[in-house]
Amino acid sequence: MTANNKSNTKSTETLLIRGGRVVDPGNQRDAEMDVLIEGETISRVAKTIPAPAGGRVLEAKGLVVMPGLVDMHVHLREPGHEGAETIESGTRAAAAGGVTSVVSMPNTNPPIDNVSGIRFILRRAAETGLVRVWPTGCITRQRAGDGLAEIGAMVKAGCVAITDDGDSVSKTRLLRRAMEYAKVFDLLVIEHSEDKSLKGDGVMNEGALATRLGYRGIPKQVESIAVARNIALAELTGARMHLAHISTRDSVDLIRAAKKRGVPVTAETTPHHFSLTEEAVVTYGSNAKMNPPLGSANDRDALLKGLADGTIDAIATDHAPHTRAAKEQEFSIAPFGVVGLETLLPLTITQLIEPGLLTWSDAVKRLCLNPAKILNLPVGTLSEGAPADVVLVDPSEERQMSSFSSKSQNSPFLGWTLRGFSQAVIVGGRVVIRREALKTV
């Protein structure tokens, strides 16, 4: 697989990351170690590595050294909605958040449903991207829910998974065919699990709060009905199914049971779903409007438990930039979605690691190792010979979130004080971001 970052000029440098706490669950490492990068790859990880002649040294004492984050659910908006985000601005936001691999969703305009679409994303990523971009393609032509897209051709062009994200494939037979077809390529099918007709014109979680605010409700069964169907199809076809942005207790329970039976399903949840409940709608208005909607405290508890016990494999942002004008509209009209690339790491640290729900090692699995494994990407570890995508994190750095590198600022977390930010971000051996405080030799 090609590493498609901007580096037309490939790194030939030698770089030693010295004295940090290396957290690399792919190699069962969690200890103070040195990491040596030669060119584009990691060449050695060991207790003490002498500084290479002519190479640079990054002093990582007190920092966590981990694989670059792999965000398997990102809307880069290019082509079609460049006012909200571009591949350039989106990957800049990713780098700022310590994310070195971005899996782009195909619901652009036009949708990415053919080879030239995949090639366009890869070319723009090579020209303007600051981190790696792994494109996904649509399941159906035009993402219209009718007829299969040219899946095999897209895979050849570099498509890493297929999804109609933003919508569920509502025709069950069609989805069955897609899964059977994808299985031949060992291609992952990502489903946005939603029963659209049950959702109707709902805009937030159904219940007392929606009743009070006068907003149409979305019952949690909108998700769990689709999750149950998707699990059943994975069971039927044996194809690998990944369930995007899981948000309810019922879904977590279904997935747990399915995994127990050995059904090939994996699942992700988002930082906003594990950090917030529907009450956020009152405080943040349309910046707390997302699909699936924020749930009850009961749902959030189930997500935390699912993350802790491994039922939920991955944390992904569902980074969904929208312009200020779009989000400033009335709640019922404003689009669903929030940006997330730049709050993924600190929310994971503040909400999951600090309270003891996840160890650092487990967190790195959810953020790096598992997404890479689910998608068969050669990243997500610090294995010798692997691409040198590394992040140096100061777990104690505190920042008040005031603005983002993303073109869009639609986030309920603006104004929050969070801890745990990256100090240096390395993609393919190149240091793309380095905080001034970080000492180099």
Binding site: A208, R212, G214, Y215, P219, G285, E330, F331, S332
Partner: protein, 326 residues
């Protein structure tokens, strides 16, 4: 308090105070000259993104009887769906230096959104399915005038609760003043979790015969005919059969039970003509009271700091209308 968004945000004392202030307003209507100069030089913009004749005229008359100038802006609903920004529109009005924006909009939360962004006083004249506070106030004022109290009364609200802003404002106001609230309608039109939303238990009934027993007040909501297409009920005929208020059903309530309807009525659907025109009907009284309530609201919110939050301090020594009632 700068804006009137909903009765949710008012204290019981504030609600009582608006009701009390509506009384001298209503007494103005018996004068030969029904207009007082108190809001002379103020401008009230009536911004209606949804068609409404009654509420708009009522606000307009209220503003004019207080000598305010009015600016009528009937916005077409199509401009909203075209994505024209509500805030941009409202900023234009602010630049015209209006003192009040009376806003009607099809989206819940629209008034609050606008209120946060403008210096003008924003008065909610109905936002989506959220609240219609002046309607709630005028309903309660009508009840209070006839019954001399609200506390302990059995108030039944019948119909499409799910989509009704009138119902939500009634719930908040009635709950804060201590009424027992019952809702009745098809299960499809009763929103989830309604029992525990409004700070006082709301009783849910699906049978009129059960709901109307011992009722002191029945507030019949308007049935939007288009709900039938949303599969909320099979036909108007069946709705009328199950939930229409007729004189036979009215006999199940207390003999002095009041009947309210926010208008405009679908005669023969949610309410029979016999009841609508009968002696228990307060429907026209509600229209008159609506003007008094809206005058009280415009007056009370017109101060430099809007409506005082601590109203009890200001009215020290004065008996409240509710106390007089008891």
């Amino acid at each position: 308090m700068k804006d009137l968004i909903g009765l949710e945000h008012l204290s019981g004392a504030q609600i009582e105070h608006i009701l009390e202030t509506a009384r001298p307003m209503k007494s103005l209507f018996t004068r030969s000259i029904k207009k007082v100069p108190v809001l002379r030089g103020k401008t009230v913009a009536l911004v209606f993104f949804e068609a409404s004749t009654r509420t708009r005229s009522s606000f307009e008359l209220a503003a004019k009887r207080l000598s305010a100038d009015t600016l009528n802006l009937a916005m077409s609903t199509s401009s909203v769906t075209k994505g024209e920004s509500l805030l941009d529109t409202m900023k234009t009005f602010e630049a015209m230096k209006v003192d009040f924006m009376v806003l009607r909009h099809s989206s819940s939360g629209a008034t609050e959104l606008v209120g946060r962004d403008t210096k003008a006083h924003v008065i909610n004249a109905g936002d989506g399915s959220h609240e219609h506070p002046t309607q709630g106030l005028l309903d309660i004022f009508t009840i209070l005038e006839k019954k001399k109290r609200v506390d302990g009364l059995n108030v039944v609200i019948v119909g499409d609760i799910l989509h009704s802003r009138v119902a939500r404002s009634n719930f908040w106001g009635l709950a804060k003043l201590g009424a027992h609230i019952t809702v009745c309608g098809p299960a499809t039109l009763i929103p989830k979790g309604i029992e525990d939303v409004f700070g006082r238990k709301v009783r849910v009934c699906y049978k009129m015969e059960e709901a109307l027993k011992d009722a002191d007040v029945i507030n019949v909501l308007r049935l939007q005919r288009e709900r039938q297409e949303g599969d909320f009920f099979p036909s108007l005929r069946e709705y009328t059969e199950l939930y229409g208020l007729n004189s036979e059903r009215l006999r199940l309530a207390k003999p002095d039970c009041l009947v309210l309807h926010p208008g405009p009525m679908n005669r023969g659907i949610e309410i029979s003509s016999e009841v609508a025109d009968g002696p228990r009907s307060m429907i026209l009284e509600q229209v008159t009271n609506g003007i008094a309530i809206r005058m009280a609201v415009l007056y009370l919110f017109s101060g430099p700091n809007g409506f005082p939050a601590n109203i009890s301090a200001a009215k020290k020594g004065k008996k409240s209308l509710l106390e007089i009632g008891n």
